[in-house]
Symmetry: C2
Subunit: 395 residues, 2 copies
Amino acid sequence: MARNSLIVQKFGGTSVGSIERIQAVAERVIKAKEEGKQLVVVVSAMSGETNRLLGLAQQVDAVPAERELDVLLSAGEQVSMALLAMMLNRLGHKAISLTGWQAGIKTSCQHNDAKITDIDPSYIQQLLEQDQIVIVAGFQGINDERDITTLGRGGSDTTAVALAGALRADECQIFTDVDGVYTCDPRLVPQARRLDVVHFDDMTSMARNGAKVLQLQSVEYARQHRVPLRVLSSFEEGKGTLVSFDSSAAANVVGVALKNQQTLLDVDMPLPELQEQLNLFGMQCWCKAVAADSTQIVTANEDLARLKLVLGNKMHPIATVSTLSVIGEDVSDLADNICAVLAEAGIRVRQNKRSTHCLSLLINEDDHQLAVDIVHKRFVVEPESLDNRSLLAVS
Amino acid sequence: MARNSLIVQKFGGTSVGSIERIQAVAERVIKAKEEGKQLVVVVSAMSGETNRLLGLAQQVDAVPAERELDVLLSAGEQVSMALLAMMLNRLGHKAISLTGWQAGIKTSCQHNDAKITDIDPSYIQQLLEQDQIVIVAGFQGINDERDITTLGRGGSDTTAVALAGALRADECQIFTDVDGVYTCDPRLVPQARRLDVVHFDDMTSMARNGAKVLQLQSVEYARQHRVPLRVLSSFEEGKGTLVSFDSSAAANVVGVALKNQQTLLDVDMPLPELQEQLNLFGMQCWCKAVAADSTQIVTANEDLARLKLVLGNKMHPIATVSTLSVIGEDVSDLADNICAVLAEAGIRVRQNKRSTHCLSLLINEDDHQLAVDIVHKRFVVEPESLDNRSLLAVS
């Protein structure tokens, strides 16, 4: 007989932010359990807890010792996982919570930003065979020195995906505060539509270009380990969005992603030399040679101060810009068309970059709302009419 | 060359109850370090934290799953130990914090009340050789299943004493909110005097008979492993009280201890049968046969309800009583004398029990303040005059 299907579920800080919410999570978990599934549940710290602990640390030291910060922060997940396991016990189900090291999660040495290097799933498998629901602390592991480490931003998603890979889970479900992946951020474009399925290629492009629903790192990890991912709402019923390798999931234009708060700069330096300098400081920028000794680059505003240290008075800010990315199988072919539609609306496209499944356009930040409205409407909502229009434009 | 002396220091929840207090603890630790000592520091959870976590657990379940309660509560020490290590780092000293399992503390399986069964001190020793100050979470360990366990009441003292034993430390220092062991609880008898030294035999009797400054379990453990104990104030400078095996530490009358909130009962049952029943329920009482089928027993008020379940209407409460214990080498010889002095003051001694280093007297609880005042004054403060008086009484 085939084994029961094994699901890894991940609940973030808001989902376990109070005892009432922990009860709601427990009921969701139980529902899946009663459908006959084996369950591993990854939890973040209760919302607010990580900030509370960080606040204590910063009262001690503006830059706290990294090793000890990991010891401190990892206590947050220990609280939420124990409470969820207690709740499941109270509701009549066998459940056991495991810290990162108990769950066999090994990481690199880099404190505060460790990478998972290996997972020994044998103890979890043993507990699953005993019909236990296994709760695992997200965001944490242990390095070769047996020190506690944490994984950095989006760490709990990474834990869930990595566990799903190691356990060969049938699906990794990320529960969050939205009910799936949308064609565009619905706060930006209310007409944005939830996708039932999205291909890993497209999801990777969306995450890389500003979509916040899934962290890039966990999408890449899931893709690499071929773990189907599903994004679901913690608060509403629904099937969410499945991220898969199914080629039927690919679409001409899947969605639109946006990155704001970036600066376009002129730098008095030849492209190769600038690239070398940036690499030296571990910085990645969108660069374009504009003359033999002059390069244009785009950088996140939050990196400007750091860049200034490297480039001094060789850098000259030009404009605050946004990157608008259109994602889908054939978007490269649509580039001229999209630029024409934007030009028609008086929006200047300063640069564009084409890659497989993604076309990124650099526009002034002031234009971002209009641009995203237009592109989403014409190329996502009305692709049919667009196809006609595109033929007209070419003809 | 002899190794540097190795000290284990233990700070309770009040001592690490705020960032300011953690800084004060760090400064104390550094002072000892700068005197050339190797240091292992055991900490409790910040005061209030254990209750906060218990409160969360009880919102989930009135009787939370024991295993998960240990996972939850052990997060408390993880926070305080990390903050102390950070503070030491900030103040320029190498320090590393270790959870129970990282420190090699193995316990029995009994959740919420585990006993330390073994300590592997090799990792701590390795860190000490690297000149690290090692901070260890009190109150917690790990059992054979690799589950987190907690040690129950007074657990952090036990951790400190057990570590001191395993590391063959030169001294185990318990920092608390009083500056040492007193001849009597100073809240009860303001004239009580701090003892510079007290013998393990006497300290054991004091802890067993109501002195709260040290938990009986840790005194017994220290005695068994021949670890000198010192009780010190977290808040004031001073040498505190040394608990040692030095015979010069023994005194005729060392001090007076008191246990209130007890009940004297008649039970319609022969002593052997009653004893058997009590053993069956793991209860320990002071028993005395008063007739062939009748026994008097003394029990803590908090155990009355449980006792009622066992004995039903065979038990008849007589009075609310206190046990006043006089501790010291020759106290048995003083029994008649002490009873005479109390009788003179109109205080009825209902029963007395003599053992090595301890004489315990059962009195009405209403008399406890007067009794303790008289006994402390006559036999502790003025032992000289007492000796004369005693000769007169005998003659």
